[in-house]
Structure formats: structure tokens, C-alpha cells
Symmetry: C2
Subunit: 427 residues, 2 copies
């Protein structure tokens, strides 16, 4: 089960690992205190990149898919975490309505495997789980066949003025697994009697990556202070441009200026740490059109040449985030790999490597051609082995990944508090 | 890892297993609601016996030892459960003072392995853990060498009028792992500023087995009602005698009368279920002198013959519990086996089989000559496999064991509420 890992083990990450292991009880206590003040997202998956000198989250999904890629050994942890989450949110709950991604549920058999896994986790945590169709054109129950031969029943939604449910099924909690990139469906509005998880403003139609990384910067600074280290080692720098018109001649001016400034900042940091790499930034849409239009830039002067390409790839993108690129120097056999950490409530419940044989160190590993290798969490028990030298122990590596994953989750919690449209009513 | 199990799979247990699996979400919800009203013991180990027609707890330890016999695969579950427990009891805690059993810590190397495991669990849950000596004659730090070569430091206690700690170590929480069978040590009295876990009245110097089984009967009845079944299938009947004088001629009269009455009741139940076994009862001291003086009786007329033996084995015993015997029909290879379920907070975190090659189906498997085989929780993930036929799937069996283990834990919670000497101050 343990993937054959080849990681460039240069100084800073080993130092970071050693510092994290040394501070274990303090770190766990710090998280405990943070979670007294802030509510963790119900579930969450964080993509990390480990460049050997820097470890940073690059994407925090509040509608995680691919739970089926976690090892079966992690299931009891997921069930236990789900029990803890339910106990806090709605201990008296009987029924959970799960709303799958309306596109994936129709066309991606692996997504059905993921849904089976979610159903299993929440059933075993003590809930009756049924699936509702966010696509309102579905007016009859639909039987979906999963890759393992199992079946899932997708049922039409029944909306009343105050509640959402299915025929003969009135849930206490509604768990959304569609990232709502197209905006908030009307059928989910004004459900004040039921727990809707995650809250609607977590949808990618409203969320902005830059807002998340603004919160992550706050979290990274606090955490770095606790550990007495430079937050840059875990925090990717970024800048934003508002209205970017990719088709007009001057449309990229803001992007070009920011790319240039950010590359200068990174160069300075590389010099400080004696890193002999050529820095790069990634330019991507600030909203949830993930995958579309991720452009890697090593020199602001490249940008005009890239403009035509941008115009194609990034059509429709208007808000842009320019982020410090973190190369992935982890490999599973020969292929580029990035770790993904899964959490339910405040607990790390598993993870895997997203692996892509045909991509470069500075490219996104999402998209076609990728595959998944379970993290050795299970074999290594995800628990650190104090005393092992930094860099030599898989469990130590994974504990560190779990810490950074949780920092990103905490950032999502800060972010959702800051962007909550109903926040003032609680004060 | 999966022990080779041979279990007599007669009707009632298979029916019970099927009913428990069918009712899974309802059972988990029921536990959730119970834990809203009652506080689980901090940690707990329950010995079970499965006779093929009856599954019952026979001992509920509130100072569990042998955490080292759980599989390493279960560690993350234990850590997660410990995190959940700490979060509820004292989220701001930094330091945990662990008080080992004062006798075992000096003479049993396996117990040191157990302590290492506890230290690891609570450290990784985010606490600084140190060990204090309940034996006040220890006035210098003492280095103990564990079987794996690791070391543990046992330090003298420092008691101030209001607090207990060690040199330069002021804990928020004190976790006792000594069953206090000799009574409550003065050094633990009047600690109102710190969390003392378990509470002092959980000590075997004060606890009575009959009080536990009285609470267990309540719990078993509630649970049986939920499942629409006969509580006898999970509940061992019992009776008590107060002052028993084993040395006087008429001293056993009460015991004899109760043994006779209990055997008659069991015979009636066996007849009802068509069970062709000879019933038996066990006579043991009602307080915590476990192991000492457990006598198996199949006929009240045997008792006078046993009196001499009793007088030797049960010297000093005055209060007696007479309990329905539950034979163990589980075997690991050829040896008698009884499952033991471990819990932290409300969560099952592992278990093992206590195995004894030289004991009979109706004898205690504790004591010299026993060994331990980890339960296949890890491999089977302790999670039920709905759809598997009852009796054929190890995970289903272990889920059922986890349910009965938690019923006994819930009974301990009822028991500690009922016996709390400070209870009236909370009302």
C-alpha cells in the first residue's frame, strides 16, 4: 500500500518536518483552541504541493469528491469523525439527504463509487441516507449502477415552502456534494428549518480563491508564530486582478504588472534561502472554474505571447488570481504526484496522491490522464513516529501533510465566517 | 491478522446479529441520544462472552490495562477518540498526569508496554503526558525499562492543598490507571480544581459488580425494546448476598438459596429457547477482588462440598454476587477465547481475544497462562458489511461486539451517576 515515494529532500522541508514533530502536542492544542472559536467545514479536501523547500495548499475543496480513493482501512476513522460531526450539529438527526453533483452523477462512474462511500460512512455513523437530484428535470426515481455492480437510487426533490426532502423522507440535514459553480439553485434557498451543509456561500459560484488564500495567510502567520518559523515556507504568495479582458490589447496590463511584482518577491525569497530554481507563478480564474485556464508563467514578458492562448483557454474569465507557483517534487515511481488530504469535521480521515505521468513539476495534475494512489496513512497509521529522522519516515511526512491540510481547512472556516451573508444577524 | 475463529453459530446469536445489522442507523442514533443525557466513562474495557445463544458482558473495567494488545492499525482511532474526549472535558488542557497501577508498574513489563501505548495516544492527541507514582514511598524519579527497550519515567507526586502534580508539571487533567481496589488514596482526595478521571467512586474499593449489572439490566431492557427482542439474550441474570461468612456452618445459606433460584430461572429460559445445555452460575465477590474466588456452580447441593474450597479461595470475601454463567463457545484455534472491547469516550477503538488453552468453557479466562490475539477489527475495519449473511462475516461479528461493549459502557455511565457521592450538589 505504501507508494514508492521519491521526494527531493532539501533542507527547509526537513526542518519544517522536524519542527512540526517537536511541537506535536502544542500544535494539536493550538488546533483544539482554534476549533473552540471557529466551526470546521463539514467535510473538506485539500490539494498540497511539496517542492522540497516549501509545502503549501493549492486548492481547498468544500465539496470533496473521490472519497472512494481513500483506503478502506481509513473507513472507521471517517465513520468516527462523521459521528462526532453529527453529534455536534444535530444529534437527534435520523435522516440525511445527500445531493450529488448533478453533472458528475450522470456521466462519471467513479463518482458513483464516491457516493457509495459517502452513503456507507453516514449510514454507519447512524443516519438514513438517501440521494436527491439537484437537476429538477428528474421527476422519477432513477437507478444508477456503480462500477462495483451496486446500485444507487437518485430521487426527485420535493420542495415545500420551508423544507426540502424526498417522497416519504424529511431530512434534518442536507449535505450538498455539488460545488454550485453555476450559482445557488433556487431549490436550496430559504431552508431555515434544516441544516444545509456546507452553507450556500461555500458554493464556487460565490467563493473566490483569493478570499480563501487571504484567510490562509492569516492562519499561516499565526501557525508560523507558534512554531517560530517563516510563514512563507507554508504560504504561497498571491495577487489579484479584478476585471480582466483577455481579448483587448491592454486587457492583460494588470496581470502583467502583478506577475512581474510577484516573481520579484519570489526571487528575493529564493535568494534568502539559497534556492537555485527558476520561480514561476500560475495565473488562473479567481472563481471556481477550476482546471480551465491555469497558465504557468516564468516571465511577465511571456504574457503577450500567451495572450492568444489565454483568450482560448480562459474564455469568460474576468477575475484573476496570480499565485506563487509551488513545484511538486514528489514522485510516485516516475510520475508527478501531489498529496490530497481528506477531512471530516476537524479530523484527518485519509488521503491519496494525485499522480500524473505526463505533466511537469509546475503543471496542474488535475484533469484527464490523472490517477490516484492511496496515501500510506493506513500502513503508517498517519501517526508520527517521534524519534525517526526527518525525511525518512512516511508517517512523519503524512502527519505534516495532515497539519497543513488542517491549516487550509481552518482558513476555509475563517473564510466562510468572513463571507457569511447572514453574519450580522448572529451578532 | 484475522484470528481463526470457531464459534458455535446457533440460532439466537445469528438472529441477534441480523437484527443489530438491520437496525444499524437506529442503534447509532439511540447511542447518540443516550450520550446527550449521560457522560461516557473516559476509557473502558469490556469482557464479553458469546455462548452461541447469548452474548453478554461479564466485566466492565474503568481502569483498562492492555491497550498494547490492540493492533497498531487501531491507533489513529484511539487518537481521534482521545481528541474528541479532551475537546469536551478540557479543550484548553496542556498537561496530562497519568497515574499507573502502583503494583503492576513495578512488576509487569507488559504493563509498561500498555503505558507506552497510553502515553503515545494522549501525546498525539495533543497533551504533554507524564507519569506520577501513586506509591508515595517513591520520592525520586524512577526510570522503568519497557520490553521494547524504551524508557518511562515515573516521578514522585507533589501534592499541594488544592492541586496534584509533579515537579515543574501542573496538569489540568489526572488520569488514573490504578483500579484503587485498596480504597481511595488520600493524595487523590479533594482535588476540586483539576479533572480527575475516572471519578474516585469508580474505584474498585467502592464499586460493586451487582450495582453495575443492575444498571446494565436497565440499559439492556431499553436496547431490547428498541430492537424488539428479549433482553435475556444480552443480559446475564444475577442475585446478591450481603454478609457471607464462608467459615461458619450456616454461612452459605443465602448463597445456596440464590444459586438454586437462579439456576431454576436459567433452566426456564433454556427450555423456552430449546437450549440443550446444563446451566451454571458463577459465585464471586461483589467488590473488585477479581479473579480471587470465582466459583462455578451447576447445582446448589454442590455448595457445601465447595465450602472448604471457598473458604480458601474466597477468604475475606463478605459480599457476594451470584451471576448466570455464560459459556464461551468461541475458540481461537483450539483454545477458549473471549472478546474484549476497548473504548475511549463513546467510541470503540479496538479489542482483542483473551485466549486460554487450559481453561474450560465455563471458567474465567483471566489469570496466568492466558494470552491475547488482536481482534480482526483492523482487517475487517470493525465496520459491518450489510448484506453479508449473519454468522459468516467477521466485521459483522465485531460490530455486534462493539454494540454490546458500548451497552456495558453506557451501564457504567448510569452506574457512576447513581453512585456519585456529590450528585446532590449538581441538582
Amino acid at each position: 500500500m505504501v507508494p514508492h515515494l521519491v521526494t527531493a529532500l532539501t533542507g527547509p522541508i526537513n526542518e519544517l518536518e522536524a519542527r512540526i514533530l517537536d511541537s506535536l502536542p502544542a500544535i494539536e492544542r493550538w488546533f483544539r483552541l482554534e476549533w473552540m472559536e471557529h466551526t470546521p467545514p463539514f467535510y473538506c479536501a485539500v490539494d498540497l504541493r511539496n517542492s522540497g523547500f516549501k509545502l503549501a495548499p493549492v486548492d481547498t475543496s468544500l465539496y470533496p469528491t473521490a472519497f472512494n480513493h481513500l483506503t478502506p482501512e481509513m473507513l472507521p476513522l471517517a465513520v468516527q469523525a462523521a459521528m462526532a460531526a453529527i453529534e455536534k450539529i444535530c444529534p437527534e438527526a435520523k435522516n440525511l439527504l445527500l445531493l450529488p453533483d448533478s453533472a458528475l452523477v450522470q456521466r462519471n462512474p467513479f463518482y458513483l463509487g464516491h457516493l457509495q462511500r459517502l452513503v456507507r460512512i453516514f449510514s454507519q455513523a447512524g443516519l438514513n441516507v438517501r440521494l436527491g437530484a439537484l437537476d429538477l428535470r428528474i421527476d422519477q426515481p432513477q437507478t444508477l449502477r456503480a462500477p462495483d455492480g451496486g446500485e444507487l437510487l437518485l430521487e426527485p426533490l420535493l420542495r415545500t415552502p420551508r423544507r426540502l426532502g424526498l417522497k416519504d423522507f424529511d431530512p434534518c440535514t442536507i449535505l450538498v456534494n455539488d460545488d454550485l459553480v453555476a450559482g445557488t439553485p433556487a431549490v436550496l434557498e430559504n431552508l431555515h428549518e434544516q441544516y444545509l451543509l456546507p452553507p450556500l456561500h461555500a458554493g464556487w459560484g460565490l467563493r473566490r480563491k483569493s478570499r480563501h488564500f487571504q484567510s490562509y495567510e492569516d492562519v499561516a502567520k499565526k501557525f508560523a508564530k507558534l512554531l517560530g518559523m517563516d510563514p512563507w515556507l507554508i504560504n504561497p504568495m498571491y495577487a489579484t486582478c479584478g476585471e480582466v479582458d483577455f481579448s483587448s490589447p491592454g486587457g492583460l496590463d494588470c496581470v502583467q504588472a502583478n506577475v512581474d511584482a510577484l516573481l520579484t518577491k519570489i526571487r528575493r525569497k529564493y535568494k534568502e534561502y539559497g534556492i537555485n530554481e527558476r520561480p514561476f507563478v500560475v495565473v488562473k480564474s479567481d472563481d471556481g472554474h477550476h482546471g480551465a485556464g491555469i497558465i504557468t508563467v516564468r516571465d511577465a514578458r511571456e504574457l503577450p505571447d500567451l495572450q492568444q492562448r489565454c483568450a482560448d483557454k480562459a474564455a469568460g474569465v474576468t477575475e484573476v488570481i496570480i499565485q506563487e507557483g509551488v513545484a511538486t517534487y514528489e514522485r510516485v515511481h516516475e510520475a508527478m504526484a501531489e498529496p490530497v488530504v481528506y477531512m471530516i469535521d476537524r479530523y484527518v480521515v485519509g488521503g491519496f496522491y494525485r499522480v500524473h505521468a505526463e505533466r511537469g513539476v509546475d503543471e496542474s495534475l488535475s484533469g484527464p490522464g490523472g490517477r490516484f494512489v492511496p496515501l500510506a496513512f493506513a500502513d503508517g497509521h498517519q501517526l508520527p513516529r517521534p524519534g525517526d529522522k526527518p525525511g525518512v519516515s512516511a508517517p512523519n511526512r503524512f502527519y505534516m501533510y495532515g497539519v497543513i491540510g488542517r491549516l487550509a481547512m481552518l482558513a476555509a472556516s475563517y473564510e466562510l465566517e468572513a463571507t457569511d451573508p447572514d453574519a450580522e444577524t448572529y451578532e
